[in-house]
């Protein structure tokens, strides 16, 4: 059942992205920025948490989920450490992902070369 929920939730979020790309002139970079920001804002107003509860990875793997972790981390840290937590919380909760992106990104770039398109 997990998998059905994740599939539907993740698929639906991607469909929203596809509509944005096909119906507007937004580039993929614009869409990604929009999704991460939207994810953070929806989390702050309490809408995204129920979606994560329902969809699991379907809600955390899309970039909105990255926004979700950032916002959730910031709020949590503010609760425990006060206002300074606003600065530390978001990055702390997503540090694993960011470091992974840097390390894997760099090493793959060094290991592989781009292939010509046919």
């Amino acid at each position: 059942m997990d998998y059905v929920k994740a599939f539907v939730t993740g698929g639906a979020i991607c469909v929203i992205g596809q509509i944005l790309m096909d119906k507007t002139n937004l580039t993929p970079a614009h869409v990604l920025v929009f999704f991460v920001t939207a994810g953070a804002v929806l989390t702050a107003v309490g809408i995204y948490e129920p979606i994560v509860q329902f969809g699991g990875a379907g809600a955390t793997i899309p970039l909105t989920g990255f926004g979700y972790s950032l916002a959730k981390g910031a709020i949590k840290e503010v609760q425990t450490a006060g206002l300074i937590g606003a600065l530390t919380g978001g990055v702390k909760s997503t540090a694993g992902g960011i470091a992974a992106a840097v390390v894997f990104g760099y090493s793959m770039a060094v290991l592989f070369n781009p292939k010509s398109k046919k």
Partner: protein
């Protein structure tokens, strides 16, 4: 006195500069297209033994010039001037090739109109008796252009149906004051025209007004009509741009539908996944130097109008929200066979 000027913007070349030889080298994808047998050389690998695509593009251009000069029975020392350009920043493909070739060099930037621009200026040099042999050349490379103007190759983006595929390849022409070969009789340099298209994925529509304007100006200046031409070929407008150009020219009272084609449509077939068609400096260059030149020499085409088209945008201008100016230069090329 500008005695050789005809009408508003056309020049008549009385001495009929001759295109005594051409050469074309293309990438693997172009080599699978419908015109494959007309190209002198098809690369197996678009790195061409080099370490980067920019280096490869420069080498393609250099080898194309060498081949054209060789086919003309000459050596690079015999060539008085080389005129050329490409799409890369600071036209490095052409100037780095000129570094090796040691021919006095005029670097040109007309985006994808460079084949007609270099042929125009080269023919004028010959006609004005300032040179006996010149080379007109241009190149483009899918991977280097993609990298400069769009996304990294391995980025998983989608190409909209209006987008075009940059041709990997180079075409060179040796233009001479004497000898045998199809000759250049009229040239119509075009104006920069911008009707406000901002979508860099729809270059055909951005350049079509310039192409239409130049074609109409050419007809008006020379008195030629569709029936005087066997072929009118725009450079790289693709399906959408071609359609628009034809309609715009018709609106001005000239029907070109019977002889009109576009190099971007000719160079690839529909099943090659190129959306609207080919583009890039190399597009009109390889199609003209390969396919059309062959037919001119054989006399299958008596007179053609090459209208190479360029989109004069840069990634910076696009990001700053500027629209895309287009340009088109027309060159009349006539087969040498008598009777006209």
């Amino acid at each position: 006195m500008a005695n050789n000027k005809v009408g508003q913007q056309t020049l008549k070349l009385n001495s009929h500069p001759k295109i005594i030889a051409t050469a074309s080298i293309v990438g693997p994808k172009e080599g699978e297209g419908p015109l494959k047998e007309y190209f002198d050389m098809v690369l197996q690998d678009d790195y061409f033994g080099e370490k980067s695509w920019e280096k490869a593009e420069s080498k393609i251009l250099r080898e194309t010039v060498k081949l054209a000069v060789q086919k003309a029975g000459l050596t690079p020392e015999d060539i008085h001037y080389m005129l050329g350009g490409d799409l890369l920043n600071q036209i490095i493909s052409a100037s780095f090739a000129a570094r090796e070739l040691k021919i006095p060099f005029f670097g040109l930037y007309g985006a994808c109109s460079t084949m007609a621009e270099s042929l125009t200026l080269g023919s004028i040099l010959i006609d004005g008796q300032y040179a006996d042999y010149v080379v007109a050349v241009t190149s483009s490379h899918f991977s280097s252009a993609e990298r400069q103007f769009r996304f990294p190759l391995e980025h998983g983006n989608q190409r909209p149906p209006t987008s075009q595929w940059t041709v990997t390849g180079s075409g060179a022409m040796v233009v001479a004051s004497g000898g045998e070969g199809p000759c250049v009789t009229y040239v119509t340099p075009g104006r920069v025209i911008d009707l406000g298209i901002k979508d860099a994925n729809n270059m055909g529509a951005a350049m079509a007004p310039a192409a239409a304007h130049t074609i109409v100006a050419h007809f008006r200046d020379t008195g030629f009509l569709q029936r005087d031409y066997d072929v009118i070929a725009t450079g790289d407008l693709g399906k959408i741009g071609k359609d628009i150009t034809q309609e715009m020219v018709l609106k001005e009272g000239y029907d070109i539908s019977l002889v009109y084609t576009d190099c971007g449509i000719e160079v690839f077939s529909d099943d090659q996944d190129v959306n609207s068609g080919g583009s890039g400096c190399g597009c009109s260059a390889v199609v003209t130097c390969g396919y059309f030149y062959d037919r001119l020499v054989k006399g299958e085409i008596k007179r053609m109008l090459l209208v190479a088209t360029g989109a004069l945008l840069s990634p910076t201008s696009s990001q700053q929200g500027e629209s895309i100016p287009g340009i088109a230069h027309a060159v009349t090329i006539e087969s040498m066979s008598k009777g006209r």
